[in-house]
Symmetry: C2
Subunit: 553 residues, 2 copies
């Protein structure tokens, strides 16, 4: 592959000739904004005030698949990487332009092309924001049923690119279960339409090859997805189980009886304690991770109740104001994660809160939802669940999107927080839970919940908070958590990701996940993207070329 | 690629060294048996007494994936094609060894490895016969829910290879919806295990790349599939609709209300007339195509009732016995397919049997099945269906596997019969039906039913019977039917196959089906099977090498 020194003005001229003068930018502010996504590791650098590390050379906003095909042909000719970009809410660094080049923002491609009441499908462009898509369907009495916590800050294309799962996935499926057809521009510059003819038996299913490819094979431009009538009724309920395994058994039985609650979330002992803390079930409506971190950060009202402030002053003498005291207490606690995990665990036990909270929600047409809910709730009670009424479910529902916006406080306070979502079939699930929990628990404060259930298995969503004295120390700890956590997942026979995707952060673990098949993925990559310009360096794929420096001159 | 003259004794020595002395055969009888599958075009040659055209050079019966990997390495080294073989019930020529070489029969690999009551999955080897798999599950109170009409003469591997659909697919899904993991040996000789870790978001889904690949990428050795509790209750019902479109509307509404009857079969006017003929609904329990052909062949009892024999003797004077008379009448009728289609259509109208028969079946746990059936039946009545009671459904159920065994009579009588299954989304379905029906109707007597319904679309199953004066004339007509039928399917925006696969017969139409993506399939083929030894010449893929003659010396 020849190596050119790419002249930026020439590249920009070529791009503006395709998209128009105002739809390509080399401004510093744009390059900075598009230099990262929501991968928490990058927030450590931001907090440390580090300079922007991986800006794109140019950001471009195409309007059609045809324009994207032309841009890809330019990129091939000039040997410039292309990074497709939706809303930047990914948490694995998948949208980071690590070799610079062109960031292709799809947000202008945000039309709802058609809502077909007959076939019950929606066709939309991939730059469409998730919440806007759902509202367009709502206006027609329909729903996609896809509600990731990022719904306000993610796009249809991003969902498809990373095999997204929404909070109601147990009923409606993951995004790959909903999509029937995609229009994509491959790294060859060809426009490919998959699956449009209907259910087929004609060899490879290209839709399922493109879904989850995170921009490494093609740019997803448009998709058709199955939709449903909007539910008339939603019934929420909380249950408490004495043990995690009993709750899991309840979920398994529900799924295997062909019941399909929209939401099933079973929190482990610690996560449940955070969710139920205070006994009233209503005191704190924030998601558990925020409550946990909040208690570490020390919210005055709660902490004075506990008389903790005084004790902390004894333990950490000489600290000035309460805020500083609490920050340092959190840092000190997070610096001893094994001890912290053990103490919090013991504390939960002492307070009689060792039970596990399960939130379940059933929805659909009024009479059917009630009938299905009766069967679901009865099955959970048979498995040992104690009915807590609808309050815990309502609390969860009210705050279900909060998690995507509230991260900054933890980072401001000098710590970091992240999530790891893995999955396996039922028989390995507890081993997977214990293995990953221990692996993370060596380094960080950790809790988990089980959601996204299937008849044959379930995913586990770990939330962890850690602390390092410096940016470098934090990064080392962060990397160790992922290295040890995913190694434990693989050892237990689980998958390294259920719905956040792979991006940069999990690339090194792809060989363990795919084994012999990695050579096939490489071959697929070569077929779709012979020059390797599509989101290079991601998903553990090898680089196809060394990238030339882009010269601003 | 070097071209060798392969010495058969050397090849057989290499194979017996792997599988043992008695597990490889070059006997004429074996080579004859394995020279074809159930592709009807080949039956024309058989009927004409033509010599075996495409025998394998050697048939081998491996016992493990490891043995298959060794065999593939031998085949790569010696440049010999490999054709995986299950039970030979395919109807597209997919198992025909058109270049000779090794036919790899998997029937020794027929173990049920594990039935997991916890995860509700079954793991079995791919050579396992379908009916034996279902019986093994039945003994544990479970079902796969996969009931193709070939169930007695097909294997798990064959189902997966061709994306099979069973008669209950509307509830249980196609085979690709049930399978969660496969173990396969690629054309590289690598053993690949896909999907075993659970639901993942880590890029390509190899299971869905291998399912439907019909032996062109890998040999499927073992699979894990989701199973269900065996239904306690099955409720069958027939409905009559005044028009086909009304019946389709009824099915669409049922599916889109999230109801999942196991069986939905809507016969078009002609097919319905055959099914309901005689008015009693009980006179004839055979599938419609057999009734149709039987009336053309002339079964004495029925035909004397009709007084048809006398009329035929007037029309075709001088014929000897009744059997000969009837054969010639059938041939004469099938030689004028447009007229026949029009007359039968008119006859159906005159008899007041222009309505369309819909058979629906709901099953599951007792109370839930009754509740779901009430909703399904009510929806069908709202769409204009007239309740015919359970008789039509019971008749269908009793004879549902008959179709796979009774072909020979038609062929013995000098005609041919075949089926074409296509699919599309709802809005294009009637255009697809009319287009393909007209295209086939120019050449053959044709009828159709709609089955395998989805919320967004449905498949159509055409049955056609034709006649040519000679083998060559029959083959020309047969080829014209497929050429015109599939061109019409593509024009109407439908897919060229829903669940019979592609094999040899539909290979020429793959470029129209996949368009730009065919280059990707070629690339996938190169990745999985760099030497092109896996079932060469199938599915419209280009040949990777010219095959050397195998020398018996």
């Amino acid at each position: 592959m020849p190596r050119n020194r790419v002249e930026l003005p020439e590249l920009v001229r070529a791009l503006t000739a395709i998209v128009g003068e105002n739809q390509a930018s080399t401004r510093a502010v744009d390059r900075s904004v598009y230099s990262r996504d929501m991968w928490p590791r990058l927030l450590l650098a931001v907090r440390a005030g580090a300079p922007v590390e991986h800006p794109p050379d140019v950001v471009v906003w195409p309007a059609t698949a045809g324009e994207i095909a032309e841009i890809i042909r330019v990129a091939r000719r000039m040997h410039v990487p292309i990074v497709p970009y939706g809303a930047g809410s990914g948490v694995c660094g998948g949208a980071v332009p690590i070799h610079g080049g062109i960031t292709l923002d799809l947000k202008r491609m945000d039309r709802v092309i058609a809502i077909d009441d007959g076939a019950l499908t929606v066709t939309a462009e991939c730059g469409l924001n998730g919440e806007r898509l759902e509202r367009a369907l709502e206006a027609r009495g329909l729903t996609l049923g896809h509600f990731p916590s990022s719904i306000y800050c993610s796009t249809l294309g991003g969902w498809l690119a990373a095999r997204s799962a929404g909070q109601m996935s147990t009923k409606y499926g993951k995004i790959e279960d909903m999509v029937t057809s995609v229009t994509a521009v491959t790294g060859r510059g060809d426009v490919l339409v998959s699956g449009a003819a209907g259910r087929a038996g004609v060899g490879p299913d290209w839709t399922q090859a493109l879904v989850g490819s995170e921009g490494t094979l093609a740019v997803l431009c448009q998709a058709t997805l199955r939709v449903r009538p909007a539910p008339e009724t939603r019934l929420l309920r909380g249950f408490e189980f004495a043990r995690l395994t009993a709750g899991l058994e309840g979920i398994r039985r529900v799924l295997q009886r062909d019941l399909r609650p929209a939401v099933v979330r079973l929190y482990d002992e610690l996560d449940s304690w955070m969710a139920l803390r205070g006994g009233s079930h209503a005191a704190d409506e924030r998601p558990p991770v925020h409550q946990a971190i909040a208690s570490l950060e020390g919210e005055p009202a709660e902490i004075e109740d506990d008389g903790l402030i005084g004790r902390l002053r004894t333990l950490l003498p000489g600290r000035g104001n309460k805020k500083q005291l609490l920050r340092e207490a959190m840092a000190a606690a997070l610096d001893r994660p094994r001890l912290l995990n053990a103490l919090v665990d013991a504390g939960a036990a002492r307070l009689g809160r060792r039970g596990c909270l399960l939130i379940v929600g059933v929805e659909g047409p009024d009479r059917r939802a009630h009938a299905e809910a009766r069967l679901v709730f009865a099955e959970l009670e048979r498995a040992g669940g104690k009915d807590l009424g609808e309050e815990p479910g309502k609390r969860w529902l009210a705050k279900r999107y909060a998690v995507s916006y509230n991260m900054s406080k933890v980072f401001e306070a000098g710590a970091f927080v992240d999530t790891m979502e893995v999955a396996s079939t039922w028989e390995r699930l507890i081993d997977l839970y214990e293995g990953v929990r221990q692996a993370i628990g060596k380094h960080a404060f950790v809790m988990a919940h089980f959601s996204h259930a299937y008849s044959d298995g379930c995913s586990i969503y770990f939330t962890f908070a850690g602390h390092g004295a410096t940016r470098q120390a934090s990064e080392r700890k962060y990397d160790a958590i992922w290295r040890d956590g995913l190694a434990a997942a693989t050892r237990a026979g689980g998958t390294i990701s259920h719905h956040h995707g792979v991006g940069l952060s999990k690339g090194p673990f792809m060989a363990d996940e795919h084994r012999e098949a990695m050579v096939l993925y490489e071959a697929l990559k070569s077929a779709f993207d012979p020059d390797g310009i599509m989101n290079p360096g991601k998903m553990g794929l090898r680089e196809r070329q060394e990238w030339p420096a882009v010269s601003p001159a």
